[in-house]
Amino acid sequence: MATLTQKERMKIPRQDMPVQTPEDRVRNFSEVALGYTLEMAKMEAERCLQCKDPHCMEGCPVEVRIPEFIQAVRDGDMAEAVKIMKSKNNLPAICGRVCPQEVQCEARCILGKKGEPVAIGRIERFVGDYELANKTLEMTKEAPTGKKVAICGSGPAGITCAVDLARLGHEVTIFESLHTPGGVLVYGIPEFRLPKESVIKAEIETAAKALSIRILTDYIIGRTLTIDELQAEYDAIFLGTGAGLPMFMRIPGINFNGVMSANEFLTRCNLMKGYRFPEFDTPVKVGKKVAVIGAGNVAMDAARSSKRLQSLTAGANGQSGAEVHIVYRRSSAEVPARLEEVHHAKEEGVIFDFLTNPVEILSDEKNAVRAMRCIRMELGEPDQSGRRSPVPIKGSEFDMEVDQVIFALGTSPNPLVFTNAAGLERSKWGTVVANTDNGRTTLKGIWAGGDVVTGAATVISAMGAGKRAAADIDRFLKGEFDWQS
């Protein structure tokens, strides 16, 4: 393409990404968004104005050199695009899919002021997928330093930290409690948003192999090994153990059959591949009327997975009368999930019940859920989070007929990790106290980052924390500073 003027670039419409239609995709667990073709990626890249003072990068927790990689895509030099990308982000196929770009890089794009921002996330995904298919870049590592680092957890924070440290020549071992590396990317996020084999496994394995990172699955920190044992053997420890503990509401009936955490439901689906039962041995049940409590990304994942399971169990004709509800105590304006997820859920037929809060779960004679008693809410004064807090409307109770209730109310760090870790300070929420700039905890030689520090947050913020900790660990191992928390 001939060089365009800025005016011409601004006339190019934002390139849509092909997706499976809602009718098709509720019948399978395959990826919803199909990705750009090279032509689409180049066309979208043409929209970038290559600002002299780009703001997009300020929105990126890992400081991807956005205008540069977009320029390389525009030039059709994919190898160069990959190289630029991977200088900052080793997991672009993952980030391109799950980062909330609309509130990060794309929110700062100058084009967004008058029209639509450059689809940075979609181009990033294209670059990541291109590299997984073509393997243009040989990841190199610096000469061995002889220093050993233990990374606890193989989720986004741990993997990012591990890769950065391995590239700097340190000997890195990752301990993962589950049987598959990836953490929340594997057990939490559904296949239809983030393919497990072709993306996560491929991206993690490529990096681990190229950089000789040892990944030990089946190691539960706190049980199989404790932090004090790691301290004796490693020069530095990074805790990226996430926030794995589910929360339940304190209402009567939460232990009836058919009531579960989103963690359980999604782990059965994603990690254990329950949607392919009996080909895979772990079953997952879906009700005819499912209520998902909460409206975050995890709630959307659970609701959309439920829709799919309902169609799959009903066969090709769909299940008549099957419903999936999102039940949320605040209004649509306060929904914490990404807009795109809400949009997809609505397209797929998920019903949203706003300003509604469960007060009790009711069972039949067999101890199985038959209904959920709810109360209507109205918005009152803003609370500490700045959002208007929901207040129950007296006498507005009603029964909702459901046979499955999934709680997606957030998660907190698993305290198991902290067995034999005296001196490691934690907040009243159970999260590890760590310096946000460098990840240092209150114990010398131990860093932490990601959900274990912040509570459940985003993949990219965890990656950012992993990156900052890696840089600090490297300086520490090179003796560039004396430890101060």
Partner: protein
């Protein structure tokens, strides 16, 4: 990979396996459990540790073939490997010198009660053990239990060996016969047996510890599927247990939760057995002996 080093057929449906898992063996204590994943399409199966050998780096597992996965596991042999073994999980038994105690093991539950009885004996307790099964065929480790007990009572439901009784009958006799002497009771076996043991001991107010084996996935507190309802709220079997005060457990809730996936389990078993028979038929047709 976790290699099977030894396999014993204890009964038609009960198998013992010694498995190479040094990182588990070095930490294992009586009362804890592990999770096995046979292969990449398998389930995560929680099994109580029946024994361990720190020097050899092995753990001993005993399981009864009840579902698809345990039936499949029963077909595995020495030299085969599990793709994953993780643990040790849960809290270990609080071993101390209580004085006079009773260990009750039912069916395949005799296996996990064994290391507990052994350690309690080593700690100086006077150990009375009651082991029972439906039939003589399903009884296991009588010798080992005898070796770590001051007194051993054996029962079978059908009277094919030992006393023709449920384990609760001799248990009640001891509690009546030695009032105030029994300081603590451990019971491991089918949920229904543990329920009746707890009901039997409740009037005597003797603390009764049961080891629960509920449905779970990760075993680290992540899924919450294993939750058990106690008098004072729900707890997770995987991280808060597996041992609980039997007098506080809501047994009806527990039994109904255990049955939640029964239709799926039955379908899986049928499918597995059909598949297995087909393979056997084919093998016979092909002239394999």
């Amino acid at each position: 990979m976790y290699r099977i080093l030894e396999k014993q057929v204890l009964s038609d449906v009960t198998k013992l396996m010694v498995v190479e898992a040094p990182q588990v063996a070095r930490k294992a204590r009586a009362g804890q459990f592990i999770i096995v994943l046979m292969h990449d399409q398998g389930e995560r199966i929680p099994l109580t540790i029946a024994d361990y050998d720190r020097t050899a780096g092995t753990i001993t597992l005993i399981f009864q073939e009840v579902g698809k996965s345990t039936k499949e596991m029963g077909t595995m042999n020495v030299g085969d490997s599990f793709t994953h073994v993780v643990g040790p999980l849960g809290h270990h038994t609080d071993i101390e010198n209580y004085g006079e105690i009773i260990c009750v093991g039912g069916g395949v539950g005799i296996a996990p009660i064994y290391p507990i009885a052994r350690e309690l004996k080593e700690a100086g307790n006077r150990v009375t053990s009651i082991i029972g099964a439906r039939t003589k065929e399903l009884l296991l480790w009588e010798d080992k239990m005898r070796a770590v007990s001051d007194e051993l009572i054996v029962t079978t439901d059908d009277g094919s060996y030992g006393r023709k009784d449920l384990v609760t009958t001799p248990l009640k006799e001891i509690l009546d016969g030695r009032p105030g002497q029994i300081k603590k009771i451990w019971a491991i076996g089918p949920a229904i047996m543990m329920k009746f043991v707890a009901m039997t001991t409740q009037p005597y107010k003797v603390p009764t510890i049961v080891s629960l084996n509920t449905i779970m996935i990760d075993g680290t507190g992540m899924c919450g599927g294993c939750r058990v309802v106690l008098d004072d709220g729900a707890q997770f079997v995987c991280v808060d247990g597996p041992e609980f005060d039997g007098h506080k457990v809501d047994w009806n809730n527990l039994l109904s939760r255990l049955a939640f996936y029964r239709p799926e389990e039955q379908a899986a078993v049928q499918r597995f057995e059909k598949d297995h028979e087909c393979k056997l038929d084919r093998a016979i047709a092909n002239g394999v002996k």
